[in-house]
């Protein structure tokens, strides 16, 4: 099972299906917290392991991540290449596990080759993609 070393920013259990977006996301504007979807793509975030490059755009994005929790649409965990203040703040407020992957491109490869789930146990310093 491929393991990817991670910096655990907000620790928590995760065993969920991957939603992979190979870019940065501005939660403000690109995510609809009421419906729990990514606008334009129409894919749901709820209960998924959200894997993407990192945050961008307005700091209001933190409130949107909190709102995902408030409206019951939060992802199971967030996995990024680079965690910046918008994502970190949102994950803390929304009680969403947040992992920063050192070799993000290796994880990307694994997902493109067919990995379906992200698994992380509390206390471990890596995530698995199967």
């Amino acid at each position: 099972m491929p393991r990817f070393k991670a910096r655990i920013i907000v620790d928590g259990e995760c065993d969920a299906e991957i939603l992979f977006i190979d870019s940065k996301i501005s939660f403000f504007g690109e995510v609809d917290p009421y419906k729990g979807i990514i606008r334009g793509k129409n894919v749901g975030l709820r209960g998924r392991a959200l894997v993407f490059r990192g945050g961008r755009g307005s700091t209001v994005g933190s409130y949107i991540i909190y709102a995902l929790k408030y409206y019951g649409n939060k992802p199971a965990c967030i996995v990024v290449e680079r965690a910046e203040p918008i994502i970190i703040t949102g994950a803390v407020l929304g009680d969403i596990p947040l992992f920063e992957i050192y070799q993000f491109n290796d994880l990307r490869e694994a997902i493109l080759r067919g990995a379906r789930r992200i698994i992380h146990r509390v206390g471990e310093e890596y995530v698995e993609a199967i």
Partner: protein
């Protein structure tokens, strides 16, 4: 990160849920930026409080933080919101007043001062070397560059977390080694408000690092406000050192390049300058200092009233409601729309104008980008002349 025993107790929840969440945000963000410790701040300024920006999610979070015991640990001020707090504006839309006032209620319940202004330095001018946690980009540049204080350019939620805990992470501009200018910009002849705004927009777009600017003549306070606000809008600046203005000892120099700017390069920032059709004149971005406000009153008094079909919008801090009432009434009698604790960047306008004329590069930047308006830069006297009749 090294934490004190008190900070560890806060994180464990001994001071309540809101304090714990707030400190966790600061610690996690600080760690990701390489900070080794937290520092105490003297003043937090919270931005991102307009309902039109943060919406229901922001309102719910602020209410939850207030409900679960969140209280300011340090002196805290707040940014403008999306409604005119005098309730009399016909240009600023009031349709979300109910929700916006719920935000105010939550903020004030947490002990934040109801300043509703983007110039927190009016309420408490920072001392050189003081550590702050300020949101609102124009205020951040003023704090670092005019007052010689130390703050990073915080997002709304981080400034909020700093307000609740009284701490911020020790990184970025809090550390002297990061307050170093590498570019010297020499300005020969620049005098007008429009020039300072254009120069700010140019710096924001073209200079990534911390610049040192040398002016032939020392610019006044109002001009610096326009310059800093404009640069912080089109760029991500937090410190712009100005010769003979920025307090010595609050920065270092290591100049590697000297840059001269041609006046013609600045002209492209002037925008639309054909003064036809319905014009909205806008002054007050950043909010006017009392001195600037009185100068504006003197200017407006030379005219009889605002032209039919045009508007003149003036945004000022909420505080003036208590002691500049005479001047405000005089302006209103001439048809000027004076608004308290808000501005057109964080609010919605009730009607469209063919052209907005403003002296502020920051207002031009956001009104054209966010609201899709046609905007031109002009000096205050030109703006007033364009929208008022003798």
């Amino acid at each position: 990160m090294h934490l004190t025993r008190r900070q560890e107790r806060i994180l464990r929840g001994e001071y309540g849920w809101s304090m714990a969440k707030a400190l966790e945000i600061i610690v996690r963000v600080g760690e990701s930026l390489g900070a080794e410790k937290l520092i105490e701040i003297k003043h937090a300024h919270v931005s991102g409080i307009s309902y039109l920006n943060i919406g229901e999610p922001g309102l719910k979070l602020l209410e939850e933080l207030a409900e679960r015991g969140g209280r300011a640990s340090v002196y805290t001020t707040v940014n403008p919101s999306c409604i005119d707090l005098s309730g009399s504006s016909i240009i600023i839309d009031h349709s979300v007043a109910r929700q916006q006032l719920l935000i105010h209620k939550a903020l004030e319940r947490m002990g934040f001062n109801p300043t509703y202004t983007c110039i927190p330095y009016l309420h408490r001018p920072p001392a050189p070397g003081e550590h702050l946690a300020w949101g609102e980009s124009n205020a951040v540049v003023m704090a670092n560059s005019f007052y010689g204080a130390r703050t990073n350019r915080e997002g709304g939620p981080l400034a909020l977390a700093a307000a609740l805990t009284g701490y911020t992470y020790y990184a970025g501009l809090h550390i002297m080694e990061n307050r170093v200018a590498r570019y010297r910009i020499v300005i020969e002849d620049i005098l007008s408000e429009r020039d300072y705004s254009s120069l700010g927009l140019w710096i924001g777009e073209n200079i990534d690092d911390i610049p040192l600017i040398s002016f032939k003549q020392r610019p006044d306070y109002g001009m610096l406000k326009l310059l800093f606000a404009s640069a912080a809008a089109s760029g991500s600046h937090a410190l712009i050192i100005v010769d003979n203005v920025t307090p010595k000892g609050s920065y270092r120099l290591d100049i590697v390049e000297r840059i001269s700017i041609d006046g013609r390069e600045l002209e492209k920032y002037h925008g639309d300058v054909e003064y036809n059709g319905s014009i909205l004149g806008y002054v007050g971005c950043p909010h006017l200092h009392p001195h600037e406000f009185r100068n504006l009153v003197r200017l407006v008094m030379k005219y009889s009233r605002v032209r039919r079909g045009c508007g003149l919008l003036v945004s000022i801090p909420y505080k003036y409601r208590d002691y500049l009432t005479g001047e405000v009434s005089m302006l209103r009698l001439k048809g000027v729309d004076v608004v308290f604790g808000t501005c057109p960047i964080v609010s919605r306008l009730t009607r469209r104008f063919d052209l907005v004329l403003t002296n502020s590069g920051k207002a031009k930047f956001y009104l054209s980008k966010l609201h899709g308006l046609r905007v031109g830069l002009a000096d205050t006297d030109v703006i007033v002349r364009s929208v008022m009749e003798m």
